[in-house]
Structure formats: structure tokens, C-alpha cells
Symmetry: C2
Subunit: 383 residues, 2 copies
């Protein structure tokens, strides 16, 4: 990996957006950026991604995830409209509370899997994965007759993840934030920088997100967090695929797409068919639930030498027949094995099933195993 990112090789012209933390990430030594929601997403800073993982599971890490753009829904029908967008029953989401949700299309396909925050009776933010939910929501609103405003506000999240995130957040924001229940949030300020702080994250570790509400103050916020984090050995890192795969967390665009429904990828618990309200995809999802799915995203262990994170889907074979594909795969240093996900027909989805995968190193044996790989309730060796 190069010492620092060569932006010439990842953008062409000014089309791809930069986050309020971009300069800070570059100065912190980020060596690569991918593009997510039309914006640069820092990939990594340490030459060894296992080092970033160790910071995450032992100390505390800060990730620029401004790419989680918000879709803001306001107006007199904002509650009804937002409830139409997701199969989760939002009558169960109080103001000040968030929910992990799926947004589904009419045939039950997954449009996105955002964190939703309810800031007011009729005021929602949807922190979206990599698809234009802004356009989806505006399209649905057209001709719906509902009175809503749908916009992308100036809001940019930073994730603060790892066991030392609690003392760090205590130091920055005081007790109110540290006592937040999972998926709850507060609107607050750091000095006078306006933020929303949530008890959420993409790591399976204790963690928070600081949603910056003024893009002109990204550098200030970054410096403030890094300064306060020094005693906790804070490290700027990319999101850790190792840790999120250990935790059974999915990545939209690869582990699930518009071509998959929530029941196929283990997110059936987000589909609340018993609610009175209608939502997009309700009929299709009811049918799918009744009939059962024909394929499933399963956990797999992959034999062989430690793997780097996969860069393509790998075909999965049952004997000579191609039956599915590996969507994500990586080596877990503390489990000391290669773990990942595969989308396979239900007849090959039972734990213990033996298959093979066409990895770049050749055909390797894989075994279907339960997810998550790391049980948050068990005390695991730190790496």
C-alpha cells in the first residue's frame, strides 16, 4: 500500500464528494478511499488492517463515515410516509430513539438497510448505506398525496468504536451520552459544535456515532476527538470488515442487494407483518414468508491459509455444480480461521454442510456454520 492516497487514481474531476473530515483523514495518513454514496470513504491508515482491528477490539477507533448520508423526512405526513418505507413498525419508535431497519421495494427486495432516527413526531433521519434512498423516497412520495419534505441535510457521522469508546465519550460529552441505551440518541453540542450522538455502530464492539450537524466544522470536531482520545490510544481506521463479519453484520451491496429479500439474509426480524399499517412490499413479503425462501445467506468457515478480504464474489460449488457464491470472506486473527458469508440454496444451508469455493488461491473446502462467529455475550480473547 502506498504511504498516502493517490487521489488521481480514484477520482476524475470534482464529481465525487468529500466529507467534512476529508482533510483530517488525509493528514492522518489514510492510504486509500473507496466511493460510497458518491463520496470518498476512507479505507485504511495502517499498512496492516489487522493492526486497525486490534485497535478496535482493545482500545478505541474513529472512522469517517460521512458517506452514511442522511435522508431527512419532515412535514405533516412524515410519520405515515416513513412507516410506509419500512417493514418495521415505527409506532414502536419513540422520539429520541433509533431503529435498524430495512427499506424494501414492492417485490420485497432490499433497497437499503439504514439506521433510522426519530428526532420528532414528524421528523426522521435515515442514515443510508450505498444506494440513493433520497431518489427512492422522492419517487415514492410523487403522486402519493402525502405532505412530506425529503432532503439531504448537512449531517456527517463519525463512528467511535471500541471498548474505550465509553470513557472517551464520557470525557467529551458527560454522563448523558454514556448512559444512552442501545439505538438511542441525544441532540447535544461539543463546545458549540452541534451534533447528535447515537449509541450505534457497525462493529459489534461498544460504540457511538457523532453526527456532525455543521459541515464547516469537521476539522475542529476531528481534532477535539483525537485529542481527548490520546490516553485511550485512539486510532483513525477504516470500518473493520474482520470485526463486522465476526459479529454477523452485513454489508449492503454485497451480502444483500435489491435482488434479495430480508428473509433470505437473516433480517426477517425487521419485517413486522402483523402491524396494521401498510408498507411497501408487505404483500410480497407475506407471500415469501408463507412459502419460505429458496436460498439463504449463511456463515461459512473457509479452509486454508489466512485470507485477505475478498475483492470479488467467489463461486461456491457442491461437487461440480455451481450452487452459490461467497459474498464476504476474511481471516479473523482471534478466531484463527477464515470466516465469511455465502448465498446458497436452502438445501445447502444447514450447519455442517460441506461445499467448496473458488478462491483466488484455488478451490478450497468450506463448511456452513451458524452466525454470528463471535457471540457478544461470551468473553473472547482479545487479539
Amino acid at each position: 500500500m502506498p504511504a498516502s492516497a493517490d487521489l488521481m487514481t480514484i477520482q476524475r474531476g470534482a464529481r465525487v464528494r468529500r466529507s467534512p473530515f476529508f482533510d483530517a483523514t488525509l493528514h492522518a495518513g489514510c492510504w486509500g478511499y473507496t466511493v460510497y454514496n458518491h463520496m470518498l470513504l476512507p479505507i485504511g491508515y495502517d499498512d496492516d488492517l489487522n493492526e486497525e482491528y486490534r485497535s478496535l477490539v482493545n482500545d478505541v477507533t474513529v472512522w469517517d463515515v460521512s458517506v452514511e448520508r442522511q435522508v431527512e423526512i419532515t412535514g405533516p405526513d412524515a410519520f405515515a410516509f416513513t412507516n410506509l418505507l419500512t417493514p418495521r413498525d415505527l409506532t414502536q419508535c419513540k422520539v429520541g430513539q433509533g431503529k435498524y431497519v430495512v427499506i424494501t421495494s414492492e417485490d420485497g427486495g432490499i433497497v437499503n438497510d439504514p439506521v433510522l432516527l426519530r428526532l420528532g413526531e414528524n421528523h426522521f433521519w435515515i442514515a443510508v448505506a450505498d444506494s440513493d434512498v433520497l431518489l427512492w423516497a422522492k419517487g415514492v412520495a410523487y403522486g402519493s398525496g402525502m405532505k412530506v419534505e425529503i432532503n439531504e441535510p448537512d449531517v456527517s457521522p463519525l463512528q467511535i468504536q471500541g471498548p474505550k469508546s465509553k470513557p472517551l465519550m464520557q470525557r467529551l460529552f458527560g454522563d448523558e451520552v454514556v448512559e444512552l441505551q442501545y439505538y438511542h440518541f441525544v441532540e447535544t453540542a461539543l463546545d458549540d459544535i452541534p451534533v447528535v450522538v447515537t449509541r450505534t455502530g457497525w462493529s459489534g464492539e461498544v460504540g457511538f456515532e457523532i453526527y456532525l450537524r455543521d459541515g464547516s466544522r469537521g476539522d475542529e470536531l476531528w481534532q477535539r476527538v483525537m485529542q481527548a482520545g490520546k490516553p485511550y490510544r485512539i486510532a483513525a481506521t477504516g470500518p473493520s470488515d474482520i470485526r463486522r463479519i465476526e459479529a454477523g453484520i452485513l454489508n449492503y451491496g454485497i451480502d444483500m442487494t435489491l435482488a434479495h429479500n430480508p428473509f433470505e439474509v437473516g433480517l426477517g426480524w425487521l419485517v413486522q407483518l402483523e402491524q396494521d399499517a401498510d408498507f411497501i412490499g408487505k404483500e410480497a413479503l407475506r407471500r415469501i414468508k408463507e412459502r419460505g425462501v429458496t436460498r439463504k445467506l449463511v456463515g461459512v468457515e473457509i479452509e486454508g491459509e489466512p485470507l485477505d478480504l475478498n475483492m470479488t464474489r467467489w463461486p461456491v460449488h457442491a461437487g461440480a455444480a455451481r450452487v452459490g457464491e461467497i459474498t464476504s470472506a476474511v481471516y479473523s486473527p482471534r478466531l484463527e480461521k477464515n470466516i465469511g458469508y455465502a448465498m446458497v440454496p436452502v438445501e445447502h444451508a444447514e450447519p455442517g454442510t460441506r461445499l467448496t469455493a473458488a478462491a483466488p488461491v484455488g478451490e478450497v473446502p468450506i463448511t456452513v456454520v451458524p452466525k454470528p462467529f463471535v457471540d457478544p455475550k461470551k468473553d473472547l480473547p482479545k487479539s
Copy 2:
């Protein structure tokens, strides 16, 4: 620039899609990829982008633009639905014909600026710029009561651009293709590789696009084109920003976005308010046309040393006041000056207006000038 692309620095996991021509572009020495419609887009092959430009204006170039994903609209209401999506009057688009269109939102903002192809009475492809028109269209269809199917088919365009594109296409496909009128197309095959060939492009040069209809045959098609192109000194290149700016062509996501309407960016000619049919944004665009716009995208000449393509928006100043921004800027070797676009208030939009821009090298004088910079009817020195 590195000798070849370091994919580790531009993708993380298998989320970002690869085109059917990806392996071919890597073997051809592509040194960088950006991400566009969730897919890798080759940026360049020659160390000097001016060399790629010279191939384009003197010979013939091939660009992998599989990132122009198609949104396919079929079903009994496909014509009415597609006509609802765009302000252009599609009764004027025959089967076998294409149109450059804008897709607009309810407030007249630009959702996308695709090339639309009409393959049948009720069969359309929309070759989209970088935004999820698939989600926009599915959102609009929801609750519209119209009978349409909306999907992303297995279709991947290659652009063949430059003065030698005609003899090359003659050699590959024969007379039928070479005689195509601008924005017309034929469904044909190369050997038995199924393709659609269009007389379109993003260069201002004579050009064609070959839409591959079978993603498993990308390498074959690429090799076939490169082989036939040898006598014409064919070169694999990225899309040329120099040439498209000379031609007055806009880039969605930077020169225009959802925050801009067609009248602001010189695309008012795509808005046909007099048609009987309704389309999304009709009322808003009628009002905007009546009242006039408050800002405009103008051509600018930029003083100083030859510029590399801008990587960020540059603030534009009138005296001390910030009044707008440069969206695209680059040095034109044959015009021997820096050219670009600026979004400025109408009071600063008259040709001859003198302003300044905050370029990375410092504040530089700029002058508003008419677009396009290169008149296709004039004989210009080749570079």
C-alpha cells in the same frame, strides 16, 4: 501515476461491481478506476492524459463505460410511464431512435441526464449517469397504477470515439452501422456476440457505442475491437474531460445535480412544456421558465499556467464576495488555454464578465465566455 491500478486503495471487499471488460482494462494497463453507479470506471491508461486526448481527436479510442447501467422499462404502460419520467416529448422518438434526455424531480431538479433508447413501442433503455434511476423509477411506479416492469438488464456499453471510429465500425459491422444517423441505433451482432450499436458519445467527436448484451463475452468483444482497430492506432483510454469540456458537454454530479434545473445548466431545450402529456416537474419547470433563473452554468476561460483537471469545486469571487463556483476546469492543448464551467448568479453570467477563482495555485482571473469552446462546424487544428 502508478504503473497499474492498486485495487486495494479503491475498493474494500466485493461491494463495488466490475464490468465485463474489467480484466481487459487491467491487462491494457489501466492505472486507476473511480466508482460510478456502484461499479469501477477506468480513468486512464497513458501516464499523460493529453496523449489520450490526442488519440481521441486524431485516431480512435475505446472506453469501458459499462458504468452507464441501463434501466429497462417494459410492460403495457411503458411508453406512458417513460414519457412521465422525462420532459422530452417521446411521441417524437420512434422505435430504433434514441434521445438525450433529462429526468426531473417534482421541483424540476435534475435526477439524471441519460441517453434513452426506444427498442420497441413499449420497450426502453435508459443509459444512466451516476445516480440510482432504477430506484427513482421504481419509486415513481409504486402506487402509480401503471403496468410496467423496471429492471437493470445485462447490458454494458463500450464507447468507440474519434475520427477513425467510422472506418473501424465499418470494418466490424458494415454499412448499416456507419450510415446510422446521430442518436439512432441498430440491434445486431459481432460474430455471434449480441450487441446494440448506437451513434452516440460523450466526446464531441464522431463516435459510436457498442452495448454488449451478454456480460460473459466482454473479453471477446474487447479483443475483437482492439484487433480491428490496430490499423487506426486504436487506444484504450478513459473518457476525455478535455474533449467533453471543449464540446460543452456536462458531467452529472458536478456540472449539474439534483439541486439544479435544466434551465440553469443550458438544457432548457430538453424541456418540452407544450406537449399534452404530463411529466414529473412540469408545473415547477413552467414556473421556472416564466420567472427566469437566478443562476447559470457558464463557460469560463481561466488565466495562468496549464491546469490539471480540478479535483474539487473552486469558489468564484466577484471582488471579495463569493458568488459561485467552478465545477469543471482543464487545459485544452489545441485551444492553448484553460477552459471550464462556473455556476454563477445571472448578474455575473454575461460573456465578458471578469471574476476570479480560488484555484489550488491561488486566486486567478477568469472571464465568462460562450459555450461550446469548440464549434463542431469549424475546422480546428488537430492537436
